[in-house]
């Protein structure tokens, strides 16, 4: 079931919310939680019911492991249980998502003809697996507190964030499921939640979906080995950068809004990434919960261990930098790439960003070592970051390596006679205008900042412009404005257009 479908908006969401508050009132908190779990499973099973048992097995297994880890002393056995738990989760993910890819690599390397039976990828497998790995580690560190099986089920299956996140942590969700205020209907939650949902729906329907119509033919041409031309290839890359941002951040807004209607606060996932003045800053603003996960569970442990190893060798500061920073960054971003998909294009996407971040880290170190005062002007930083992102996003969108190579050749063919320029002039102007709006308007977090202050990052807040000081208020203007916005989005909605991030 899609968030941008009539079924979800007119039936599923109102029915679920009404049932939740009704049951909380007559049957207590546990009845309301059971209701949400049940409806979340219906939501998940709507695509393919055969994957519901898989999800339930994964939940039961992790809950048992987590319960043991929370009660046992930090013994070798606990470490063993943690290792088994993490390996099983990775094995589960690996079987469904990566088996074919790695078997193909093995076949190529060994010159053999290995085959693995193609399996249908369970929806959202990367999201719920990562969340549960984090839960096991938190349990091992005694940072997770058991709230009972049903609350755990809700933590994993809670429908607004089940399919494409945000990737939530056990410790930020469980306390909310215990809070009695969550189970009482609050009109202000409905007002803010519905407002955020409307902004998300608008982003998806009015911006992302129309852009996809211009992106697909160009990448399709490249996949067929045909040169789309210099102008069209750049236009498609810029358009796709906007499409993927509005699609994914729109979905996240709808998830956050739907959860907030039920009084549940989900963490933000985007904070104006295209206002970032460096690639590191962009990743602090883009898919923030994935970055948080990768930093905590991959980058930091590797970095710490490599740093210890480097120090034990009394190595130079440059070797320390490479071992403690560059290598972990590249490994972490290879994982980011693979997380997005089992394919060489995604591996290269991760590698590209890992290398960019490493270059940035080295540059900062050089500046420190040479006491270089030179600062890149902010406008230039934003432009360069955007350009690098647009270049990398081709890897993310292209169907295969042929398409990547064709697109890059076209984008670098400066001497090519411009074709399609006149036909697509309005699209080009449209793209420039959307980028301008992205740069000057507030993001959803800023718009609703006073109602979600716990999620405001003060460092990121510095980038406010005068227009981005616009904030939502519970007044007649916003009631009418958002009402009209919602109605327009609903009418222009194409019920079958899926979200880009569903494949992950």
């Amino acid at each position: 079931m899609l968030f941008n479908s009539y079924l979800y908006i007119f039936l599923f969401l109102p029915f679920t919310v009404a049932g939740f508050y009704f049951l909380a009132r007559i049957g207590g908190e546990m009845a309301a939680i059971c209701w949400l779990v049940l409806l979340s499973l219906v939501f998940y099973g709507w695509w393919n019911p055969i994957h519901v048992p898989l999800l339930l097995v994964s939940i039961a297994f992790n809950y048992l492991c987590g319960s043991y880890l929370q009660t046992s002393s930090r013994s070798y056995l606990a470490g063993f249980v943690l290792a088994i738990g993490v390996c099983c989760n990775l094995g589960f993910l690996g079987y469904f998502k990566y088996a074919g890819f790695f078997v193909d690599i093995a076949s190529t390397l060994m010159g053999a003809d290995f085959h693995v039976k193609k399996v249908i990828l369970p929806l959202a497998i990367s999201f719920f697996t990562f969340q549960q790995i984090a839960y096991l580690v938190d349990s091992f560190k005694r940072q997770a507190v058991s709230g009972g099986f049903m609350r755990y089920c809700l933590f994993v299956t809670f429908f607004p964030k089940l399919i494409t996140g945000p990737i939530v942590r056990h410790k930020e969700m469980m306390p909310q499921f215990r809070e009695s205020s969550v189970f009482h209907f609050m009109p202000s939650n409905l007002a803010v939640g519905f407002g955020i949902f409307t902004v998300g729906l608008f982003k998806k329907v009015i911006v992302a979906d129309p852009l996809s119509v211009h992106v697909a033919p160009v990448f399709g041409l490249a996949a067929a080995g045909q040169d789309p031309g210099f102008y069209m290839s750049w236009l498609a890359a810029f358009a796709y950068s906007l499409q993927v941002y509005f699609d994914f951040s729109g979905y996240t807004d709808m998830a956050i809004g739907a959860a907030l209607i039920m009084g549940i606060h989900l963490p933000p996932n985007f904070f104006s990434p295209y206002k970032a003045a460096s690639i590191a800053e962009l990743w602090r603003r883009w898919h923030m919960t994935l970055t948080r996960f990768i930093t905590e569970f991959i980058f930091t442990p590797i970095s710490l261990n490599f740093a210890r190893f480097s120090l034990s060798l009394n190595s130079s500061k440059w070797l320390l930098l490479v071992l403690a920073n560059v290598l972990p960054l590249i490994i972490a971003f290879l994982v980011v790439g693979l997380w997005h998909g089992a394919g060489w294009t995604f591996v290269l996407f991760g590698l590209f960003h890992g290398v960019l971040l490493s270059v940035q880290a080295l540059w900062q170190e050089i500046r420190r070592a040479t006491r270089l005062k030179m600062q890149i002007p902010k406008v230039m930083g934003i432009s360069m970051t955007l350009l690098a992102w647009v270049w990398g996003v081709v890897l993310f969108r292209a169907e295969d390596m042929t398409a990547v190579s064709v697109m890059y050749k076209s984008m670098l063919n400066f001497s090519a006679v411009p074709t399609g320029f006149n036909d697509s002039l309005s699209l080009g102007i449209g793209i420039v205008l959307i980028y301008a709006l992205v740069l000057i308007l507030p993001n959803t977090e800023q718009l609703f900042h006073q109602y979600r202050p716990e999620f405001t990052d003060k460092n990121l807040e510095k980038s406010r412009t005068s227009l981005s000081r616009i904030v939502w208020r519970e007044n007649v203007f916003w009631a009418i404005f958002l009402g009209i916005l919602f109605s327009i989005a609903l009418v222009l909605m194409k019920s079958e257009v899926e979200f880009v991030y569903f494949q992950f």
Partner: protein, 414 residues
């Protein structure tokens, strides 16, 4: 107060829009019998029949359905005297494959107590290599069509269909497409060129040609598309064939057999008609080397019917063959420059007029004279031989025209 204002704004806008679409009813699904002057002709149905018609059939208690491709929608009159005492619906769909025809039959059977079916057969429904035509191709339209059908493919009731039909109501009332179609419906009323429109019994009505438009030119354009864009030619991913790669019959024949099997089992009387095509179509088949395939298709239509009937110990359903050279199918085509003359029996090589459709129905149901031949397994060879002779005779009498057509179709096929 905030929420009250916001929901009032939304309700006002959406209810206003829904009321507009409901009043115009561009697809004729809410009150098909009621005809407002501003939206009498439902012009915006094309390629949406797979979604509109299952709704209508679910709402009606039928005893007869008319099944087939677009020729059926355009050519057969649901108000023909034979149907006057029957509750009939024209469940034809543009580009319908035999699979879709079979599924339409299943849907109508489970929603109503069917007594009779008029099935117009066209070889184009049996193409193995047109995914949309052969079977469910997982496209949005076909998924929606499947979801709305009250019967599953195994014949059991699809209990989700009614629910899905409900969930599609917003699509018909609020979507951008519905608004566009409502506005277009209003715009098309009473214009100079009425255009095709859907009547309350599922038939297509209206003129296919605007005044001043040359029918001869249009006729040749469609013949060109048929040859170059469907049967063969560079734009077709796989040339037309009623056989699989290994030479066995297309899956479409299984659906034809299943339809007959279920009809014999449930005592539904089926009348089978091999659709009258204009002889340009047969000449095009000859030019592309598909004549043998066409004859084999005809044989299969008759023999499968006979075989299924004998399996059930029943007399085979009547098979009427109109797909041959006859006075009906050899009507002269106006010259390209002639913008005034209109053909009496054909719009283009595949679509015949209601006048021609009436001739078919008169002969099949009212025992009047006509150009159709009733074929049985026993008479099949004789009939085909007789048709071959008639064809040769026609070609001998029109040597120059046939030469021109052959040259033209060879050119089209490049």
């Amino acid at each position: 107060m905030y929420l009250q204002i916001q929901f009032a704004v939304i309700a006002l806008l959406l209810l206003g829009l829904a009321s507009f679409n409901y009043a115009v009813d561009p697809y004729g699904i809410y009150s098909p019998e009621k005809s407002y002057t501003f939206s009498k002709h439902k012009t915006e149905f094309f390629l949406k029949e797979q979604i509109i018609k299952p709704y209508r059939v679910s709402d009606m208690q039928l005893d007869t359905v008319i099944l087939g491709m677009s020729q059926v929608g355009l050519g057969y009159d649901e108000n023909h005297p034979y149907f006057s005492d029957k509750s009939v619906y024209n469940f034809s769909m543009a580009g319908a494959s035999m699979y879709m025809v079979y599924r339409a039959f299943q849907h109508a059977s489970i929603e109503s107590e069917l007594q009779s079916v008029f099935l117009d057969l066209n070889m184009l429904s049996f193409n193995e290599y047109d995914t949309f035509v052969v079977r469910n191709d997982n496209s949005v339209v076909s998924r929606t069509f499947e979801g709305l059908l009250a019967a599953k493919e195994d014949g059991s009731r699809n209990w989700m269909a009614s629910f899905r039909q409900l969930t599609h109501i917003p699509l018909f009332l609020l979507s951008q497409q519905a608004i566009r179609d409502s506005l277009a419906t209003i715009k098309m009323q009473g214009g100079l060129h009425e255009g095709w429109h859907l009547n309350s019994k599922g038939g297509w009505r209206g003129s296919t040609l605007a005044p001043g438009q040359s029918q001869g030119k249009r006729f040749l354009n469609i013949a060109k598309y048929l040859v170059n864009g469907y049967l063969g030619g560079p734009t077709v991913t796989h040339p037309f064939s009623i056989y699989k790669e290994d030479g066995s019959p297309s899956r479409a024949f299984e659906y034809y057999e299943r339809l007959l099997d279920e009809a014999y089992r449930n005592n539904v009387n089926v009348t089978l008609v091999l659709s009258p095509n204009h002889f340009y179509f047969y000449e095009a088949l000859d030019s592309l080397g598909l004549e043998t395939m066409f004859l084999d298709w005809k044989r299969k239509m008759v023999l499968i019917n006979a075989e299924v009937a004998s399996r059930h110990g029943r007399t085979p359903f009547a098979v009427w063959d109109f797909a041959h050279y006859s006075p009906l199918t050899t009507e002269a085509v106006p010259a390209k420059g002639d913008k005034a003359r209109r053909m009496k029996w054909f719009y283009d090589p595949l679509h015949f007029t209601r006048v021609a459709g009436d001739l078919v129905l008169d002969q099949v149901y009212l025992n009047r004279q006509g150009s159709g031949v009733e074929v049985t397994a026993e008479s099949l060879d004789g009939v085909l031989e007789m048709q071959r002779q008639k064809k040769q005779q026609f070609q001998r009498e029109h040597v120059e025209l046939i030469e021109q057509l052959k040259a033209m179709f060879s050119e089209f096929a490049k």
